[in-house]
């Protein structure tokens, strides 16, 4: 690709927004909530993409967008009628445009091959009669000026011009002193463009009117290059004879439509008692204001706020140790500081949070593509599109989610005939939802297909030697076999979901984000895959533990229970291994210090604290630590950037006393690595290191 090009990047960012608008518009058309403006909005989106693409000579996009918008133009002019066939073509075109833009961004041309067939289907809507007309119009489309700020309000003001709102209420003495309001207003008009409204509310009944008195006040909007002092100068000689209120208006708060021709409205005869102009609120609701910020800057801020939290914890600890009396007011100020720091942290984290909507939209494309290739009829229902998740999390679940959606269409939903035979709607439903629940985001994918074929899963697992032939597994254990590496149920590897990656890859991707996956399935009714993800990758709730004189942190989310065992709960197996008996279940015990190579032999477990955890592929087991002190939120500091991955350790954090504590990873802790064998792989720091990673 060419050198970094910010304008080009901006174009693609705008494309994302426009494509989102396009998808929105099409789904409005689909579910019948479309308004008159919908088709226009769709047209504008496609047209803007074409315009921008033209500027960067992305001919594939321009050519396709041109055909697309031509059909849309016919639609908005009512020359063709929207039916399900056309809608399908439009959706297909939208997907294709999406792919073309993606190609443009990555400098590939994977989507080009599809263009011809989609163009052909678009062209069927360009009847002969209108075709000629289109050709005539094509110049109009081709010659549009390119603007990169279509979504932003067009600023008409010349630079340096501001609008002032002036309230001018003369006292009775003003006229008596020989001043003339009209001259003042004329003088204002010389400064710029002015519009005037006369306030007549205080004019009394004509019979009571003292015609030497002045009952009027003026409400003016002045758009000018002059500053406030210059305006005050106009009123210099009447300052004491009137109430004068001058305020500078920001664009949003302007209540006047500023006429370009000032004189037309400048009727300042003081006998005129009619309002010259009504105030009029701006008609269009202002678009949600957004700010594009370099992600690096946000990440730097996230890092600094992490420091702030650590620093705050440290100050708290020092003050605690200093035993300052509470009457000094320090503790309460400290608490306020704590709250502020937390608020700043939440605020900064929310900058990184983004609605999951674009990802869901991408999934509806995936469904359509998979549907077409598998000849199934599927409807994608989404819920919770507004759910916000950390940007990195969104980026990193895109592939796993795509895979799962493909699976749901390809394996989950039955072919139409089978569905009808089973008394179901011929069109299958896949429901994609996102919700927040207690510091986590839950994304679930449910289909109303046949459900998991457990007999087949078990058979496959046995034939592949993943489980012993005589194993007796519960339903959920069978379901979880899907996540085993080297498992694939499809007898024929289909083009869609069988791309050499199984659910184990999906699960690993989710686990690496600190998430969890689960399956529920009911035969004949369908299956649900749930993904539980942390809201942010920057902080976690941890339990502070002592391991061989070191302070370490274990994520609370992975601890099911803490146990102080008695001798009766412990059973030895051989000389080194121990089991913990808990509610009739025996689970293996791993000594954290030994696993990490910090101690040669486990010490007596009955003097230790056992943490019951559950890890993937191992079920439940107990981790032995020397002591347990506290629960707190810790800022995650990646180790990968400067060092490398360490088995059993997921990251590090900095404690209140400035010392580093390692964060334990129960999933990898049990894979015992021999001390000294593992060397850091430091030459390949992860480019996409977590935003919390140390700089």
């Amino acid at each position: 690709m060419s050198a970094p090009n910010t304008i080009r990047d901006t174009f693609f960012e705008e494309c994302d927004e426009l494509l989102e608008a396009l998808t929105d518009g099409l789904s409005e058309l689909e579910d019948g909530t479309a308004t008159d403006d919908t088709v226009h909005a769709i047209f504008r989106a496609v047209h803007s993409i074409k315009g921008g693409a033209g500027a960067f000579s992305m001919d594939a996009i321009v050519a396709f967008a041109h055909a697309f918008e031509t059909v849309l133009d016919l639609l908005r002019e009512g020359k063709i009628v929207l039916d399900s066939g056309l809608l399908a073509v439009l959706q297909h075109s939208s997907d294709h445009l999406n792919n073309l833009v993606e190609d443009g961004r990555s400098g590939t041309n994977r989507a080009d091959s599809g263009t011809t067939s989609i163009l052909a289907s678009l062209e069927t809507y360009l009847g002969d009669t209108v075709k000629a007309g289109i050709d005539d119009q094509s110049d109009d489309f081709g010659f549009e000026a390119i603007t990169f700020s279509l979504d932003e309000p067009i600023v008409t003001e010349e630079p340096g011009r501001t609008t002032f709102e002036i309230e001018f209420t003369p006292t009775a003495d003003l006229l008596k002193n020989g001043h003339e309001p009209e001259l003042l207003l004329d003088a204002l008009a010389d400064l710029g463009t002015v519009s005037v409204r006369v306030e007549t509310a205080s004019v009394p009944d004509l019979r009571k009117l003292d015609w030497q008195n002045l009952y009027l006040s003026w409400h003016l909007a002045l758009e000018t290059t002059a500053d406030e002092d210059q305006i005050r100068e106009v009123f210099e000689f009447v300052e004491d004879l009137c109430d004068l209120d001058i305020a500078e208006l920001t664009k949003e708060s302007a209540v006047f439509d500023i006429p370009t021709d000032a004189d037309a409205d400048l009727e300042t005869d003081d006998t005129d008692t009619l309002p010259v102009q009504e105030t009029k609120p701006r008609a269009a609701a202002p678009a949600k204001k957004t700010l594009r910020v370099d992600l690096d800057r946000v990440d730097r801020l996230v890092n600094v706020v992490g420091e702030l939290i650590i620093n705050q914890a440290r100050i708290s600890q020092l003050i605690d140790e200093a035993e300052i009396s509470s009457s000094s007011g320090l503790p309460s100020e400290l608490e306020a500081y704590q709250n502020l720091a937390r608020e700043i942290q939440e605020g900064v984290m929310s900058i990184r949070a983004q609605p999951i909507k674009p990802l869901f939209q991408r999934m509806s494309r995936v469904v359509r593509e998979t549907m077409m290739a598998s000849n199934k009829k599927v409807r994608l229902l989404t819920d919770g599109e507004g759910t916000e998740i950390d940007k990195t999390v969104i980026e990193r679940i895109a592939d796993p989610l795509t895979h799962m959606i493909r699976n749901a269409v390809d394996h989950g939903i039955e072919p139409s005939e089978k569905r009808v035979a089973a008394g179901k709607d011929a069109t299958g439903n896949i429901r994609l939802t996102a919700t927040h629940r207690s510091g986590h985001v839950i994304i679930s994918i449910s289909d109303d297909g046949a459900g998991l074929n457990r007999a087949k899963i078990l058979e496959t697992a046995m034939s592949k030697g993943l489980v012993p032939q005589d194993a007796e597994l519960s339903n959920s254990e069978i379901d979880n076999l899907l996540f085993l590496p080297g498992f694939s149920t499809a007898v024929e590897v289909s083009d869609l979901s069988g791309r050499g990656v199984g659910m184990d890859v999906v699960k690993n991707a989710i686990t690496s984000l600190g998430g969890r996956m689960s399956i529920t399935s009911a035969p004949g009714k369908g299956s649900t895959f749930s993904i539980v993800l942390p809201l942010t990758l920057a902080v976690l709730d941890g339990m502070i533990v002592q391991v061989a004189d070191q302070t370490m942190v274990i994520p609370i989310s992975s601890v099911l229970e803490t146990i102080r065992p008695t001798v009766r709960d412990l059973d030895a197996i051989g000389t080194k291994n121990w089991m913990l008996r808990i509610r009739g279940l025996n689970v293996p015990i791993f000594d954290v210090a030994t696993q990490l190579g910090l101690r040669a032999q486990p010490i007596d477990y009955k003097d230790q604290v056992l943490l019951l955890v559950e890890a993937e592929g191992l079920g439940q087991f107990a981790l032995a630590v020397d002591d347990l002190s506290d629960q707190r939120q810790v800022v995650i500091k990646g180790l990968d950037g400067n060092y490398g991955a360490i088995p059993g350790i997921s990251a590090a954090t900095i404690l209140g006393d400035g010392k580093i504590a390692l964060i334990l990873d129960p999933d990898t802790l049990t894979m015992s690595a021999k001390p000294g064998v593992h060397s850091p792989h430091m030459t390949t720091p992860k480019g996409e290191a977590l935003h919390a990673a140390s700089a």
């Binding site: 992490g306 650590i310 059993g648 010392k659 690595a673 021999k674 593992h678 430091m682 140390s694 700089a695």
Partner: protein, 156 residues
């Protein structure tokens, strides 16, 4: 002579020299972020013996290497007199425990001789070249080799 210097871009003219195992080593000054007194590091599990652990450098978690162990002089028992040199390559930061820092040298890049092709001692693979200073020589550390898990001689 010149072509043997693999990264001419990191060769400036000012170098910080320091001692490891009674021998003088140096690093180009722009690679050094700061020099700080030894403070205990948090031990990393499963780490090679030359990795002392990680320290908190103003909120960043930085690994500290025992340069003496890394260069094959044997493990140093750190005390208050030892210093940690914080160096950076790209985004990566690393601390190196050395015996002591001596001085800032101005060296003509042309005066730096390439790595000698002698022996297979570990230290050879971690130096880029050397230069004469008064009656002694100072050895220019190859930071990337220090960072990489495998020795450079093997890689070549």
């Amino acid at each position: 002579m010149q072509q043997a210097l693999e990264q001419p871009d990191v060769i400036g003219s000012e170098f910080v020299s320091f001692f490891v195992g009674d021998q003088s080593f140096c690093l180009e000054i722009s690679q050094i972020r700061e020099i700080r007194r030894w403070s205990p590091a948090t031990v990393l599990p499963h780490a090679p013996d030359y990795v002392l652990g990680v320290i908190n450098l103003r909120g960043s978690v930085i690994p500290v290497f025992d340069l003496s162990a890394r260069l094959g002089f044997g493990k140093l028992t750190p005390d208050e007199r030892n210093v940690i040199i914080i160096a950076a390559i790209g985004d990566q930061m690393i601390g190196m425990l050395v015996d002591s820092v001596s001085e800032i040298l101005s060296l003509d890049p042309d005066a730096i001789q390439p790595r000698p092709n002698i022996g297979d001692e570990e230290v050879i693979s971690y130096i880029q070249g050397f230069a004469s200073v008064d009656d002694d020589i100072t050895r220019l550390i190859d930071l990337e080799a220090i960072l990489s898990p495998s020795s450079k001689l093997v890689a070549e």
